[in-house]
């Protein structure tokens, strides 16, 4: 379960970094919400990213 969850959380972190900006660019999201989502994405990436990389290294 952990092996599935960690990559999902890490990729979600990266997704939350970029996708909201695309939505702001296409005028489908407010900039303030985008900034909050990006901050959440940052937390997710720095929590799950190192664990994901460690498991990939085996």
């Amino acid at each position: 379960m952990k092996h599935i969850l960690i990559p999902i959380v890490a990729i979600a972190g990266l997704g939350l970094t970029l996708v909201p900006a695309l939505l702001v660019f296409s005028n489908q999201m407010e900039a303030s919400l985008q900034k909050q989502l990006m901050a959440l994405g940052m937390v997710l990436w720095f929590v799950a990213g190192p664990l994901w990389m460690r498991t990939r290294r085996g």
């Binding site: 972190g13 970094t17 660019f25 005028n27 985008q34 990006m38 940052m42 720095f46």
Partner: protein
Amino acid sequence: MLKRFTARLKSVQEYEREPIPASRLKSTRSFLGMYAGEHTAGTEFVIGPLFVAHGASAGDLIWGLLLGNLLAVLSWAFLCAPIAVKERITLYYKLEKICGKGLTTVYNLVNALMFCFLAGSMIAVAATAVGIPFDIPMPQLTDWMPGSVSWVLTVVAVGIVTTLVATLGYEQVSRFANIAAPWMILVFLAAALAVLPELGVNSAADFWPVAESKIWTGVPLEGQSKFTFWHILFFAWFCNMAMHIGMADMSIFRYARSWKAGFTSAAGMYVGHYIAWLASGILYAVFLQQNQNSLEFAPGPVAYYAVGITGAICVIIAGWTTANPTIYRAGLAVQAVIPKSQTWKVTIIVGLVTTTAACFPALVMKLLDFVALYGLILMPMGAIIFIDYHLFPRLKLTSERALATGKPINWAAAGTWGITLTACLGINQYFGVEIFFLGLPGWFIAVLLYIGLSYLIKPVPQLKPKLS
């Protein structure tokens, strides 16, 4: 806890004076992460905006960066990496064999000082983000000296943390860069995308007309020189000249399994020195539009405006991921002068010098000139290594002359270094050639001088057996 930390520091083994064993070689992915992280860095938040300030036009920038970065990648792949994987020793030890201990000591001190200044500029960039919550006065384009006590305190805090990370060695630096790199790249992209509507770009079709009229207008800011296609091409090629043509990255690629790892530098060039430079230029254009061409020049607040707290933290991490390996490299340079010293102790001393330099905003404001100068000063030694390795055996000249003679200074190398830099200064002063272009004629001058001077000095028989 302290004992464990000290034991960890003492265990850092970087193979400064011996070839890297096969068990310590690193995968290509490790270099991809290292280069993408190192070149998507604090400096990118400065260089992109400085292209805007220097009036680069959109077309010149797109094509100049494309070709200049290609030349940089080829320089890493064909000049630096092949020698690095054959020798598997640091640049400094190789220089010692060719140039002698005395000359290498001078080179190492100059090199270390340059690395300190470069790392210092990145610590300063990170400090502009760290200072946001404390509302410290930010530096301006015209500033050279520290503007306030709060600025100095912020820089010192950032410098201490950066130095502590660097003391843990390449392994830790590589791991940190690997984790941060993909996220940082996306933050650069996201920040640029998020602010494009403020410039009037609401679809892909809008981008080019806005890029030409509002971002890279071709008109320099007041007091700034004009950048052409050639400035951009040569800057992109030579901004890391010390690393590729100057061979400093021998110390990095000695860990590679194959010379082809040199091509991984493309990750740094086309992500960091292309996308990130374009993205930071866009952010700066928005800042200029909103602040009526204000002189304030602080990447932290600019990124914070675009994407909030994530932008500020990205500037801090971007500064760290470049400052860390740069301090580490400077540590290697100093350690080559004092071989028995411990890596971590040297790194701490280097970190202190770097932090002191970082207090001066001139390092950031004159970054383009400094980067060009830094590459130029170290370049002749790279030319010497290249010729010594590839051409001297064919010309029947003595390779690794200092090792063969046992003398502390190889005067052919010393003369090459000194005369090349003097010639470059002359070309600059008498022919008005800007510093960005001097690396190319300088390399050929160095090559010809080293061959010529080596012929002038009487060939020597091998006095000592070659080191394996």
